[in-house]
Symmetry: C2
Subunit: 778 residues, 2 copies
């Protein structure tokens, strides 16, 4: 058993005081001399040809510095599927799509100018339903799909509204169904929702006349922004600097690139003045990226003893008008399609479908919250059919180490244990206890749902870290993983403190990210931060130690191997005269006779995700990811049978996180994920009119989970089976708490009142209707 | 002969376009939310007790956020002598010294508040002349001198107005004078002047409630600001981040620390809001640091054959009220006191004297322009006395390799050659040519002056560099040496280009300096940038090469030693199949079978100034510096005998810079130094009233060299005897062109009209008076 001094302790978040005192700087806080402000002319149509754009009146307005149309910005951007220009060209594909952008001295002038722009449209038939969009003869959202660049693992279908079709074929699904005692099929549905970050998409761009591009942006991944911007515009990367200050929430919606090219191109047209764009809350709902909608159909074959024999799965993803991230969500959901179970025979089709809805992107959980609603509801429905306890049923099929996943991967011994999570949650939630179901006229029930998700790190993506020894012996850590609320920087400081055995107060983690200065990091997405940056940071701390030991060994005349770094000193244990303060080695080491050696100490560390992830294009078999995090969530709810109102009394969660670096920060992730999931479970939903116009693009009509909606009680049980290649064994858990909230609650609602729900959000109305129908059936 | 591809070429300055288009950001351009503005209540007295300060009315003024007095800021700051608080405590020591500072919502409110503050003073006798300040019974500027912390090589004299007394004793000066055929003694004088940077001292400070301090400042040395601020305030260094954007000129006046503590303390009092201070031009003249005044007396013994036998030297430096940098200027001038000559017997006393003038600091050349006026005028005066040609006289005594300097240092073979510089300048200036002296009623003359200065780098101070390989194979260099006009970053890019054999267009040098991110660098002062950062950058480039070669060797299956990095590739010469683009190695290397190695490539380099500089406290003998740069300047002038008006027709300069990295940038330094020297030679001067109030604290009454005043012709002859431990042999030459302008011109004036000048500035009036006296003597 390792004895830890800093890892595993409740170190307060490094950013706490700055945030509660309001001094933390966000992109929106930044102002520069001569800065211009952007407003957008947006499409009123879901699908229309652009016949003519007349910007002449807008250009004449005093204070207008640049008016940009799509034709002037013929660049396609994207990380997995470059299907999007930053302003519509030739046609618009969703209501709210920007057509013309104006940069002016003030927001007011820009808004005025937008009103002076005349656009002639020719409306086209639109499609909003993923199943209809799949039909022959459906209006085509993209005519030139074959021309778009995309990642090699993406399989678009030109001539159809299919941006990606991921196939998984394992075993013989027909034989599996034949072997089954029972075969059950169900459909599940979720609407598009929004990530609803507190800070809307905000970017400042400047394209200087010397060819340098400066970007300040609320983006999750500064290096990804630099890369995608450079590739998209054809500008070498060293000419682009991307600065990311604090981020007011990302949740996937700020991964990759969004509006950075727009402000950069406006700046170029405005002669190099900095140009700022702050999305209004309304625009955040329908102009910028949202979470995809979901339709799922699952057919499960099972034996009476509880062993699942086959699953046939169809997942259709409503990517909206553009599908960059969508195509990869489709893939990730496809290779994880079964949930955390060993299923011998599988046929899965996971398809990214274009519609004329707002464009979809990543959202915390990367498709997993959506499809786990389907799989974990289905687990309960199947268990019920064969009369088995849902917990027992899950444990029977659980993908534990040594078992085979959907893609044929045999789980490593250190892969983490979903069975322990399920058992822990069942116990915490009081599973099997015979408590009175009815309390004061309301009905109580319990539900459980398991989950898995691979913290995504494609092969050979990497992270790095710079750890500098300051002249007074303190250290400064620079990493390029962003802080958008997760708390990773605090955990990284703990990793440094542990490795250097140095008080946490002597460690600074730089709060800003800047590509010119910072060490390379691929992206801050997919629960990869702690694992990747943690490993890189550990490497940097070791590198720093090596340097100070090498210098100290010479100065003290002792072998390097005998030296220990701790308490801001490097020393030979038990020999008080063989000791040097770290401060004395920070810029150069000096012998007693005045000679010097060494120089400024900068520890550099890096980590590359090792392992060849690759899936067969026809069968989806292979290694999809380099690690998994498993978990389970349990809900206890109380339903008012008169109104259909559901209150979550308790949420219990267990995740096999390998090792807890900071208990409070982990809990912050867990509780935050649950709260977000409750919003999705009960209230979040895009409501469109028949023409594809979003009717609730504001936080009055679009509800998210508020203080009154959170559970009365949260219980979190950390499961700690360390992963061998992780920093101190710790796995990422950023997205996982957001997964399987909805099915746990839905299963609990059934337990309480016997109503089966297949659609999200599970509004009061739907529960009430379910109760009513049930009553009618009786 | 090394063949260079990038070194030695005229690469355009990297900052050129940003600066000519006005988009380069300076500290003054920065704005932050809630930022406050500072105004100062300044002392109207040169020396007075502060009896009472009443800030109550000012504090009541709406919009005033913090009012700070000296008592609330009892911290002493300084790099060599911590004798200064940022606001006067108990007494004021010069007119313009800040007594109270106000931070308010606007500059106007702050100014109004300052007017509401009442201070009662009791005037004290003041002293303004360094010789009077040395007398017994002079008013004491500092009563508590013994309590101030100072560097070990500083010798203050408590109870006197002496901040430092540097002694140099070599041989037997009395015997030297006895051996001489002629002994000549002269006195020389220069007033205080100002560095007159285009950008005045400007700082923004923020002391957040979490204990973090952020500083944005127009300072030469971000790490020095961090260090001095931290030590002064007792704050650990990792809690301080210092950002330095472009700097509008430093010239020594922005070395060390100036007003950063003031804005930081105001911010603390204002609850963590950022606080900005922009010195007005008037304040720049008498509130902030200026160049010291100078009084010199030199007695020289010489044989008829031209061999100097002895020099007795007294240099008194008018440090004004505070002497931080002054004490080190005294020392540097002391150890270089003779100029670039071998003198067997020397007695020198170089003394920092406190007066009630504005406080002195570093100025381009660090005392050398001042004392070279004395030594190089004296060389001409002595040569004339023994009837020897001044060029021949200088060459006879020149400190060439193998000869012994004033401190007993035997010059290394690669130390550089002043004799070659003198000869080159003599030839360029047409020395000895018998041209008509009188041209159109005006009289022409030629003068020459040699010089030396050690690019100062104390033992074991260091610099470092970070060179990142970007994903597209371009590279980004981060150094912490600042850009204030010198052009060092462009030269460093050339060093990278040469080492990596990579097109200069593919190299970015980060323009901002930031201590949180940047590699450590001691200071950007004393002509050390190119040598120190150049060596560190070279080391970083080699480190980067090692990393890419190591990865490529494995991928290509060849020994590392066979690999070459050039043209953005790593390859085995002559084997086209053994080649990889750098881009393919930037984040990780991938084998054809899909396995990967390596990770993000970050080259780290460092350089520590090696060699034990140390001088005996009694005799000043020892090694004062680790290198020297030698040079000579020649002037051709035309004097109007009617008016005393002097026009510089031509300046010829030669410096042994070892190796030219960028000819145009070197010329920029040379011409800039000359122009600055011409300002000092003819016009720059602080004019005080009898109470110590500066009468010409504006650019109307205080003249600097303007376009109309520059020479008709500049000639620069690079001498290139490489220094072995320098990057490509290149020596620093940032300050040297500023040295020996005044004596070259003074010597030329004598040559033209026979008037000897001993005081600077050599105004028209002084020349005319000299001509008049000469006429009277006839």
């Amino acid at each position: 058993m390792v004895k830890y001094s800093y890892v595993g302790k409740d170190v307060p978040r490094l950013d706490a005081i700055e945030k509660v005192t309001g001094t933390a700087l966000y992109t929106g806080d930044l102002r520069f001399p001569g800065m211009l402000h952007t407003k957008l002319l947006k499409s009123p149509y879901a699908h229309a040809k652009i016949k003519k754009i007349d910007t002449s009146e807008a250009e004449k307005l005093p204070g207008v510095r640049a008016v940009l149309t799509g034709e002037e910005a013929p660049y396609r951007f994207g990380i997995y599927m470059s299907d999007k220009t930053i302003l519509a060209i030739d046609k618009v594909r969703h209501v709210g799509e920007p057509v013309v952008a104006v940069a002016a001295d003030t927001e007011e002038i820009a808004e005025q100018a937008v009103e002076l722009i005349k656009v002639e449209y020719e409306e086209l038939p639109a499609v909003f339903d993923v199943r209809k969009a799949m039909e022959e003869g459906s209006p085509l959202v993209h005519e030139n799909l074959s021309e778009y660049k995309h990642a090699p693992f993406v399989y678009p279908k030109p001539g159809k509204n299919i941006a990606n079709h991921f196939k998984l074929r394992k075993g013989d699904v027909e034989r599996g169904f034949r072997e089954a005692d029972v075969v059950i099929e169900n459909e599940f549905y979720q609407p598009q929702v929004q990530n609803v970050q507190m800070e809307t998409h905000t970017s400042i761009g400047q394209w200087l006349q010397n060819g340098q591009i400066n970007v300040w942006t609320s983006a999750q991944s500064p290096f990804a922004v630099r890369h995608l911007l450079g590739v998209g515009l054809g500008v070498p990367l060293h000419r682009i600097n991307v600065v990311v200050p604090y981020i007011g929430g990302g949740f996937g919606g700020k991964a990759g690139l969004h509006w950075e090219p727009l402000v950069v191109l406006l700046s170029k047209k405005a002669g190099g003045r900095p140009v700022k764009l702050v999305m209004t809350r309304e625009e955040q709902f329908y102009t910028t990226a949202v979470r995809q909608g979901f339709y799922g159909r699952i057919k499960t074959g099972v034996k009476r003893d509880g062993k699942i024999t086959a699953m046939e799965i169809l997942y259709l993803w409503d990517a909206g008008a553009y599908a960059d991230y969508g195509v990869n969500i489709t893939r990730a959901a496809g290779y994880s399609c079964t949930g955390p179970y060993e299923i011998p025979n599988i046929k899965c089709d996971s398809i990214t479908v274009y519609t004329n809805h707002p464009y979809g992107t990543a959202y915390r959980g990367f498709g997993h919250p959506e499809f786990h609603f389907a799989t974990e509801r289905q687990m309960d429905l199947v268990a019920r059919e064969i009369g088995m306890d849902p917990v027992e049923f899950r444990l029977k099929n659980a993908a534990v180490p040594g078992r085979i996943t959907a893609t044929g991967e045999k789980l490593r011994e250190d892969a983490g244990r979903v069975d322990e999570c399920i058992k822990a949650v069942a116990e915490a939630i009081g599973w099997g206890k015979k408590e009175p179901k009815q309390v004061g006229g309301k009905l109580r029930g319990r539900g459980i749902a398991a989950l898995w998700k691979a913290p995504a790190m494609p092969s050979f993506t990497s992270s790095s870290a710079i750890l500098k020894l300051n002249e007074d012996g303190s250290v400064t850590l620079s990493i390029s993983s962003t802080e958008m609320g997760q708390g990773t920087p605090t955990a990284l400081a703990q990793i440094v403190a542990e490795e250097l055995q140095m008080p946490i107060e002597k460690i600074k983690v730089v709060t800003k990210r800047e590509t010119d200065f910072g060490p390379y990091s691929w992206q801050t997405v997919a629960s990869r931060g702690l694992f990747m940056e943690g490993n890189a940071t550990l490497d940097a701390a070791k590198n720093l130690k090596e340097q100070v030991k090498a210098t100290a060994a010479e100065l003290l005349g002792v072998p390097k191997e005998k030296l220990v770094v701790a308490e801001e000193k490097v020393f030979v244990p038990g020999q008080p005269d063989k000791s040097l303060p770290l401060a004395s080695l920070a810029t150069a080491g000096i012998f007693p006779d005045g000679r010097g050696i060494g120089g400024p100490v900068l520890g550099y560390g890096m980590y590359t995700a090792e392992g060849l992830t690759n899936l067969d294009p026809e069968t989806g078999q292979g290694l999809p990811a380099l690690m998994w995090t498993f978990g389970a969530q349990g809900a206890e709810v109380e339903v008012d049978p008169e109104t259909g109102d559901v209150r979550v009394l308790k949420m219990a969660s267990a995740f096999d996180i390998g090792k807890t670096i900071n208990p409070t920060i982990v809990k912050g992730q867990i509780y935050g994920g649950i709260v977000q999931g409750i919003g999705s479970a009960f209230m979040e939903e895009f409501i469109f009119d028949q023409k594809g116009k979003l009717l609730n693009s504001n936080l009055t009509d679009y509800k998210i989970c508020r203080a009154q909606d959170i559970p009365d009680e949260f219980v979190f049980i950390p499961i700690e089976n360390p992963q061998l290649n992780a920093p101190h064994g710790a796995r990422g858990v950023g997205e996982h708490p957001r997964i399987s909230i909805e099915p746990a609650i839905a299963n609990a609602i059934y337990d309480a009142v016997g109503v089966d729900l297949f659609e999200i959000p599970m509004s009061r109305e739907k529960v009430w209707l379910g109760l009513k129908r049930k009553g009618e059936r009786k």
